[in-house]
Symmetry: C2
Subunit: 299 residues, 2 copies
């Protein structure tokens, strides 16, 4: 049995899966702030799922940059600047985990749930925007682990200013934090409020919604025209808008291709698909990415 | 001995190389228009280089879409709509070649000339703009052979109209044909004229030059942030501007990264390099991509 843990900014979700990635059990709890709380939260869900049995492998997906040795960097949502998470969990559980970036893990998990797909990009639409690319079942990391980090590609030099200093970055158009800041009204889910306002005829809401749609459409188009993945899977909090987002994004992609036989031949719109609803792709992917040590009983 | 042929719109260049890609001989001649003339031109240079010796493999790079079976489609510069080039050359030479896209072949050839580079994107700045991506020494084709076809990604919704119907495509900003059409003056090398005019203070030339620079910079940035290749190699006719193009492109990439520790950490500017001057990367790559049949004496 493998266990995968997806450490999000608000909740830590763990799954027990078999070698094929079939989910045998799920466990979740709120994520604490700071390294010690994160370690305890992971250990707690792992011990519950293991239930005293030996694990074949443990994988952890974390929102941050991951050095090959399991060191987490710049995980701001977790209150972690730099921390050797793999070593800390090995000490706590007696089982060294494989730690990877959460979006990359979700990409691997999404592929496990999409039979027949050889390559995909998992486009995470959350606080920020980034993609994980999977080819032949393996994550594509790139020369410096930056493959799929498309959030700070500018697609409009007259677009909104991004904290990165550029204008019109995909993340500045479609990232949850950017939309919330531009919307400027307290909300549990600002992007949904923006879409509601747009539907009600609010011009500002309409312009922000248009930016979200063109940002996501641009991201999908560039992932296909650069990596030519089979499909682009929309995931992350903003993707919970479902058809309200997917429909306009597909319309934008059809419009972009309407004047070009080449672009039309790529079927961009039909290659953008939603992540299977409620599927714990991040945790499943973390479990599948885990390198298997000898079976160990955690705790 | 392997022979590789790079069939360009104006000239057909062939090289004989050893298994390591070292060039043993070069042969060139003008490219004729139409399938029959293209076949004869290729056969002529191959026979000269073979000199009656058996070839281990023959590869041909062609500017067009290539079906896996060696059929060339939409090679407009060669006057070919659809033609089974592999079959025609097999009949003409008694040796079935491996036919591939010229940019993809150039990417493989560029890597052979850049020791220590594991992954690269060869950004072809010619009549159009497209990239070939090489990873682990092998070309990345993608799900539909469209990997690296970045020319029709829009980076400015207010940019020039592209024949594809979008505005501000990378190709509309930096493609030779687009620059020539916008410049609107007869010239053997319009992009060089535009850069000369800009240097002489001509405002229109300056604005066209700025578009070329930002188009190339955007292409390099998106290739690194999506595929995270070690280096982006600038090739193609427009790249003959050398430092006049590379300098401003690097300046633009440094400016884009100046406000972001993440972008700065990627060293975008230093990862853009010129193709080794005069190196026949397209022909060398075609030779290296060729699948080896039994040794056959062509002709």
């Amino acid at each position: 049995m493998r266990v995968g843990v997806d450490v999000g900014g608000t909740k830590t979700l763990a799954v027990a899966v078999d070698e094929a990635g079939r989910v045998l059990g799920i466990e979740r709890r709120p994520t604490g702030r700071g390294a010690a709380a994160v370690v305890e939260g992971i250990a707690a869900v792992v011990e519950v799922l293991a239930g005293g049995r030996a694990l074949d492998a443990l994988g952890v997906g974390v929102p941050g940059q991951i050095a090959g040795d399991g060191v987490v960097r710049h995980a701001l949502n977790l209150g972690i600047a730099e921390f050797d998470l793999a070593a800390a969990l090995a000490a706590r559980l007696g089982l060294r985990p494989t730690v990877d970036n959460d979006v990359r893990a979700a990409a691997v998990g999404a592929r496990a749930l999409l039979p027949g797909v050889d390559s995909l990009a998992y486009l995470n639409l959350g606080t920020g925007v980034a993609a994980g690319i999977v080819r032949d079942g393996m994550p594509w990391r790139g020369a410096r682990g930056a493959a799929g980090e498309i959030g700070h590609l500018s697609v409009d030099p007259a677009g909104p200013v991004c904290p990165c200093g550029q204008r019109g970055c995909i993340e500045s158009l479609a990232g949850g934090a950017s939309v919330a800041a531009r919307w400027g009204r307290p909300s549990a889910f600002p992007v949904a409020d923006v879409f509601d306002a747009a539907a009600a005829g609010d011009p500002f809401g309409g312009s922000l919604q248009a930016d979200v749609v063109r940002g996501v459409a641009a991201a999908a188009q560039l992932l296909v025209l650069t990596a030519d993945v089979d499909v682009v899977v929309l995931g992350g909090g903003v993707s919970h808008l479902g058809e309200r987002l997917l429909g306009p994004v597909r319309t934008a992609l059809r419009a972009a291709a309407s004047g070009s036989a080449f672009l039309a031949s790529l079927d961009l719109a039909d290659r953008v698909v939603p992540v299977p609803s409620g599927a714990p792709v991040g945790a499943v992917g973390a479990a599948l990415l885990a390198e298997a040590p000898a079976g160990v009983v955690p705790g």
